[in-house]
């Protein structure tokens, strides 16, 4: 187990293994997303209240789930990196942040698009959308902190501390926003209500597609990070046939 | 930055870490003081890793960095009162006699901000003396000192080693420590 672990943590091995893994994530992701889109946009029946407007859920809900899951993965990787001083874990955290930020952005953008026909406004201070917005701020703070520290090891450890503080705060932020929202307006919650099975499976397909997409992009980013950190190493020159 | 450095010191010894600028003298001393984690390798104090027995090690260590760790708005006396006080109980007379020993007693009630660079270095050295630690780690202690000051610091370091203490110091000039021949550790 440990031997395997160390092998994975050594840059040349990791670089090769990641390269082999990317297609195994990337292609299924593409297939699942296309199937999910077809199922959601064409096959699924229109909602009896919201008509076709509800179809944006097929992008919105998986994005929102991913935005939180990626933050969780990021914080877990950061904790592993801090405790066991593992560079690879820090690299996973660093590579996850921009992907997570984009998922958050997608969730916000689709939420806002959905809001226009439903609430008649581009932005409604709905509890979930507000939580997503604060989550985006957390991601942006993390990215900003990383980019302003030059020493990569210090950047790793500093951003890891921030990610951990953030992940403890995340549920507090979420519940305080829900509490705040329930006081100021009734429940205009973004609520899809009961979904029939033919409405549900495309959403699941999209969600798994997004997860695999995250995996593929994560490995691409990690390979790029390995190249950046090991740019002077002999094995890399051989690998890239320079 | 540093690779393949192996260093040890025993009681009564002065180790002179030498080498041109940029060879990592400060980095080495900071690693030894436990301020910087070693990427590979360990630092041991009395046979135990300093990462494990951090507090015990700190209690026996006095570190003088590039910066003097003085507060410009506090007087010389206050600087020592607070700076040493968080570590051990000490009396005002102790502080005064040390200031006198270092030749800066007349600066007792002056804010550190108005002292000359050499006087500030002497004040920082007073803290090292007052801490009463076994191991001194001094990074370029002679910076900004006049000839008399260099002589005084050398005597202090020699006395410390003679009393069974040890000192690790980085300096780019040669050392002349009375009564002891420093061991040279050259970095390149």
């Amino acid at each position: 187990m440990w031997k395997w672990f160390h092998m994975l943590a050594s840059p040349p091995h990791f670089y090769r293994i990641a390269g082999l893994t990317i297609p195994w994530f990337g292609w299924p992701a593409l297939v699942l997303i296309l199937v999910g889109l077809y199922g959601g946009l064409v096959l699924a029946p229109a909602d009896y209240q919201q008509g076709d407007g509800f179809r944006i859920f097929y992008v919105h809900v998986p994005s929102a789930i991913m935005s939180m899951m990626v933050y969780g993965i990021m914080a877990t990787a950061a904790a592993i990196g801090l405790i066991w001083r593992m560079k690879l874990a820090h690299a996973v955290a660093a590579a996850s942040a921009p992907i997570g930020a984009w998922f958050t952005f997608c969730a916000l953008a689709t939420g806002s698009l959905w809001g226009k026909p439903m609430w008649g406004t581009w932005w409604e201070w709905d509890a979930r959308l507000t939580s997503e917005l604060i989550l985006l701020f957390l991601y942006l703070g993390y990215i900003a902190l990383r980019s302003s520290i030059e020493d990569p090891q210090r950047a790793d450890r500093a951003s890891a501390v921030l990610a951990l503080v953030g992940v403890i705060n995340l549920p507090i932020i979420h519940y305080s926003v829900v509490w705040w929202n329930s006081l100021h307006q009734g429940s205009t919650m973004f609520n899809p209500g009961a979904m029939s099975i033919e409405m549900k499976w495309p959403a699941l397909s999209m969600l798994f597609g997004f997860m695999l997409y995250y995996g593929a992009v994560l490995f691409v980013r990690l390979r790029a990070e390995v190249i950046r950190r090991e740019r002077n190493a002999a094995w890399l020159r051989q690998e890239l046939a320079l | 930055m540093l690779k393949g450095v192996d260093l040890d010191a025993s009681p009564g010894e002065v180790v002179h870490v030498a080498g041109p600028n940029g060879t990592g003298k400060t980095t080495l001393l900071r690693v030894l003081a436990g301020l910087l984690p070693a990427e590979g390798g360990e630092v041991y104090w009395r046979g135990r890793s300093i990462r494990r027995d951090r507090d015990e090690y700190n209690a026996e260590l006095a570190y003088l960095g590039h910066e003097n760790a003085l507060k410009g708005d506090l007087t010389a006396f206050e600087n020592l009162h607070y700076g040493v006080g968080v570590r051990r109980d000490l009396s005002g007379t102790e502080i005064e006699s040390t200031l006198d020993h270092l030749g800066i007693l007349r600066c007792r009630d002056l804010p550190a901000r108005v002292l000359s660079a050499g006087q500030r270095r002497r004040l920082a050295m007073s803290r090292i003396l007052l801490l009463g630690a076994t191991l001194w780690i001094l990074d370029e202690p002679f910076t900004n000192l006049d000839v008399a000051g260099v002589g005084l610091f050398s005597t202090l370091i020699g006395d410390h080693a003679a009393a069974g203490g040890m000192a690790l110091l980085a300096a780019h000039q040669g050392l002349d420590i009375p009564g002891i021949q420093p061991r040279l550790a050259e970095l390149d």
């Binding site: 604060i134 703070g141 900003a144 902190l145 501390v161 951990l164 403890i168 | 301020l35 960095g65 109980d89």
Partner: protein, 227 residues
């Protein structure tokens, strides 16, 4: 040789920081002046009408206090970091989380407490009724405390970083949003004549949480920044 106990070391560090702050008096007064000025902007921008001011008073007082306290946050460890004192504190043999807690408390005393003391003045200028003053003070007492203990983590992380002050706000503001929600709500309820105990308790819970977890995160942050 007698090593200094935890409490005595904390007391020394606290009195040192207070003494330093009072020798630089203008640094202590700046956040308060900022607080007064920002709250003056609102009647000018909105309207001098009492009823209208009273409606927004809770939010204005809280946002202004948060921003004023944030202004001082970057100085919590800055000078100790620059002159090497922080290294000596790390090597002092005292637990770093304890020193971080004491420094955050000292910082709150000179930057948060003055805001709390001046807040009734500000609140009165925004037509907050006298009955709600206690809530204003209590909520800000907890709120500025939360900002100091939580903000200490950010202040530790941004030491020696380019454009650290902007970055610091970016890191700390999202984390303080729950405190803002509960604090402003408590004040608002008091202004309306309701019982504000609920949100105040929640604010108290946040304070306990940041007081207990903040110093540990701060000490980790400081260690990272010292490297």
């Amino acid at each position: 040789m007698q090593t200094t106990g935890l409490l005595k070391a904390g007391g020394l560090l606290y009195s040192r920081d207070l003494r330093l702050a009072f020798r630089r008096w203008e640094q202590v007064t700046q956040p308060v002046v900022f607080f007064l000025m920002v709250t003056t902007l609102f009647p000018l921008a909105l309207s001098p009408e009492q009823a209208q001011l009273r409606q927004v008073a809770a939010g204005v007082v809280w946002v202004a206090a948060l921003l004023s306290a944030l202004l001082a946050l970057e100085f919590m460890f800055r000078s100790d970091y620059e002159d090497g004192t922080l290294e000596q504190l790390v090597l002092s043999g005292q637990p770093l989380w304890w020193l971080a807690l004491v420094k955050a408390f000292a910082h709150w005393t000179v930057s948060g407490l003055p805001l709390v003391v001046t807040s009734p003045l500000v609140a009165a200028s925004l037509a907050v009724p006298t009955g709600a003053m206690m809530t204003v003070v209590a909520s800000l007492l907890l709120g500025t405390g939360i900002l100091s203990f939580l903000g200490a983590v950010g202040a530790g992380l941004t030491l020696g970083v380019r454009r650290g002050s902007v970055l610091l706000s970016l890191l700390v503001l999202p984390l303080t949003m729950p405190a803002l929600i509960f604090g402003a709500r408590a004040v608002d309820m008091a202004i309306m004549g309701d019982e504000p105990a609920g949100p105040l308790y929640l604010l108290g819970a946040l304070f306990i949480l940041s007081l207990t977890l903040g110093p540990f995160a701060t000490s980790a942050a400081l260690k990272v920044s010292m490297e």
